[in-house]
């Protein structure tokens, strides 16, 4: 088996393992989902979401929800590796460490997508807005990608730290700010049918962020897991 094929196989094995385990226990997804719905509910009461307000702040509410639920999932997914010592099991395999990073990141991304795919129709029904627009879905894809790329690396760090339960959001939010700003602005643009030319800078920013941070996370992941 060629080295590249072995690499992809290991990467796929990690994704498969995370999904298979989650399919059984549904611990992570159900808590992410319930949490996401609760956040939306709280926003509803906190902000008095009348029709006029909805137009302008839907994008903001969605992204805050995704970011919070995402943090929950990221923390849990890495903590389960660390707690049972499984991180050592992954590190013992004769495969480049970056396969572990990409495997975990893809798994986390899938979980985030699943939550988003469920939250969108629920929000649509509750507030009578159509959220299934190709543009918005693209933004959600790009935004979640960047968020998870940084989040997976920081979560790997956070679970090895004494104060881990509180640390991940503190580490992640200031760094993920460009993603959140750009995602909110671009989502808002698509929801309000603003001309594409005005949304493009935000999409470009998202793409640049995704590329830069995936690349750096790939380069430094070794230093985060080694001892």
């Amino acid at each position: 088996m060629s080295r590249f094929k072995a690499y992809l196989r290991a990467l796929g094995a990690i994704v498969w393992k995370d999904l298979a385990a989650e399919l059984r226990s549904r611990e992570l997804l159900s808590s992410m989902l319930v949490f996401a719905l609760l956040v939306i509910l709280i926003f509803n009461f906190a902000l008095e979401l009348d029709i006029k307000a909805r137009d302008t702040i839907t994008a903001g509410i969605l992204w805050v929800t995704f970011a919070f639920a995402g943090t929950l999932g990221l923390n849990r997914s890495m903590a389960s590796e660390k707690d049972r010592g499984c991180l050592d099991g992954l590190l013992l395999a004769p495969v480049d460490r970056s396969a572990i990073y990409f495997g975990k990141a893809i798994g986390n991304l899938v979980f985030m997508f699943i939550v988003e795919i469920i939250v969108l129709p629920v929000y649509s029904v509750l507030y009578n807005v159509n959220l299934f627009q190709p543009g918005l879905l693209l933004v959600i894809f790009l935004g979640s990608l960047g968020y998870v790329a940084v989040g997976t690396l920081l979560a790997t760090m956070a679970v090895q730290v004494r104060t881990r339960d509180i640390l991940l959001p503190i580490l992640l939010f200031p760094l993920a700010l460009p993603v959140l700003i750009a995602s909110v602005k671009a989502s808002n643009g698509f929801l309000q049918a603003i001309p594409l030319a005005e949304i493009m800078p935000w999409l470009n920013l998202l793409i640049v962020y995704d590329i830069i941070f995936t690349a750096i996370a790939f380069m430094v992941f070794d230093y985060v897991v080694e001892e």
Binding site: K5, R24, R84, D88, G89, L91, L92, P94
Partner: protein, 238 residues
Amino acid sequence: MMISVRNLVKRFGPKTVLHRLDFEVGAGDFVGLLGPNGAGKTTLLRILASLSRPAAGRVQIAGYRLPAQAAQVRRRLGVVSHQPLLYGDLTAEENLFFYGRMYALEEVKTRAAEVLHLVGLYSRRSDLVRTFSRGMRQRLAIGRAVLHDPEVMLFDEPHTGLDQDACAMLDTVLSEIAARGRTVVMTSHDLARVADLATRFDVISRGKIVASGTRQEIGPDNLLRFYRQAVKSAEGEV
């Protein structure tokens, strides 16, 4: 030499855990690594397992240097630590499939079935590991470690937390592995557990190997005295 360690130094911050440690294991040897808590047993094993980087010194396993050639070493290494490194929400079989893919094995399913027979868990292959007892988990952990048929096996306190029956079953599996001519290093602070298995005993204290002897040299009934003397004289030195 299958394992060759020279002048190994490991520090955790200001604290030096291994002081220029020398350690050698020949092919096919079963070495019992004895020592009190905090002597550096686990640290040494983690370095051999390529999980921890040495601060200084030379570590060579099966002819490959650590940490430079870690991938080659890992392919030839099976590790059992006190944590089973298994996923509770996967079945026994799925756990092995997963690790088989991580090691890029060709015939994952056939190999997994073989290993499940070896550790006596074939009948429970479709059960979730979460439902397993501590002893069964430990046996599956050994199955996981031998999955890719490694030349060198490292066991870190494999008996911890097991009851009498589980220990006996574990010993059976361990002696089978030894009989297959694998090189084994096993740590323990419980002498009785390694006494029957190992062919050589090394005592580690304060980050150094302070005594070493084969089973013949020490004699079957003198192990406890050998161990106590080694630790005592090492502690007296400081």
